[in-house]
Symmetry: none
Subunit: 129 residues, 4 copies
DNA sequence: GTGGTCTAGACCACA
DNA sequence: GTGGTCTAGACCACC
């Protein structure tokens, strides 16, 4: 797992971290049950504060992507990531919406978009950064 | 143009407003050169602060999607929205990335995703909310 | 709303605070949509840290008992507290279980327990502390 | 006695163990004077650390629910579990309070609650897990 | 060693 | 003025 954080980004550090863990799962680099570093170790590793890592972990736990076992450690959810609920699909679509709207304004055709997202999906699955 | 704002959302109000203007353009409801309400009128209409509408407008101006003509008014960019630059395409992909990654974790296949985004694109183009 | 915190208690401060807000709702003192103090004001009021109040608020938000509107304030969930899902009922029962088990060991009969809980419920509903 | 531990629970393992012993007593499966496994044997049996079992035993001893006889073994308190003192009743009520408050918020009526707790009590007494 | 909790103080964007 | 984020450093219970 290589994690790259851009401190200057508008997206909060804890979110960047969480998203990269999610990418790790999507690419298969992180399998169900796999341990994640302790909050302290990860924080030291990434040069950030313990609480920031903690926040990322709790964010992921809420999404049921990881399991935080008090005093034991943190693990990719051992029962596997569950399929999206109707609510979650709806949320993902809502997040997608403004991005697609802007792309359409910018004259990207449906086909171009399909190709771009297709490539992006492959990239994520292969774990290419 | 029906604008719907969710005040409780984590997305800032000014951004929600800007995104809905963009959707208006994407759907063709707002054509190049079309006038937008004055800051004052829009704010009163939507029950929000003038500063908020102003911020949305300047956000859109920076993206070159609208033109603010002092003393005259605000218009959808009359020369049409220009195609995405390389940087903008890159940014759109970066925004897409975490959403797709989560979708993959949630076991959405490439085909399902393509179908969903396809539908969403149609929805936006038709201006269906 | 009178809030009383026991710093020496084994139950974390943020939880005590959250529970007392819940009691406020149960007693009807806090109605749907009612505003709660800002994190800073509440913290100053209660002599605790802003982050502790924040944690209590986010705990309650997760339970959908309050709504945190960024930059606006915090409110008792305006649509009212929704009924317990099957999962939540199950959790409540699991929490009840060890307490009842101990009570049974201590020779409290079913009738005594029913009477005690009945009284306690009335007490909570009336907002008697 | 079947003991089931959820390692991922927020409830400490030693407490889970102690609570299940209490349930054993409540259901009558463990009668006054009945022997409990040695710390070592229990730990091996449950795949947990000796310290953890030890802590559970001392927790139960403090509650006077078991008796630890050095070099002899551990037994359910032979003189029977004594009735709850006033303090203990008070403590049980205090533990009950937040659970009931949440249930009230969730629109569970007094009658529903009475029925649910009644069922739960029967379940515990019968030793149904 | 782990995560959980709490405090303190800071800066930021938003409204 | 609001909540959001981040840092820093501390103590605790549990394993």
């Amino acid at each position: 797992m290589y994690i790259e954080i851009e401190p200057a980004s508008a997206v909060p550090i804890y979110l960047q971290l969480a998203q990269q863990v999610i990418e790790g799962v999507a690419s298969g680099k992180l399998s169900p049950g796999a341990p994640l570093p302790s909050v302290r170790a990860f924080a030291a590793d990434l040069g950030m504060n313990m609480h920031t890592v903690n926040k990322a972990y709790h964010y992921l736990e809420e999404k049921k992507m990881i399991e935080i076992v008090p005093k034991k450690g943190v693990f990719i959810h051992p029962e596997g990531i569950r399929e999206a609920t109707k609510e979650e699909r709806e949320r993902l679509l809502q997040e997608l919406r403004p991005i697609l709207a802007e792309a359409i304004c910018r004259k990207l055709s449906k086909e171009e978009l399909a190709e771009l997202t297709g490539k992006l999906i492959e990239e994520i699955k292969e774990g290419t950064k």
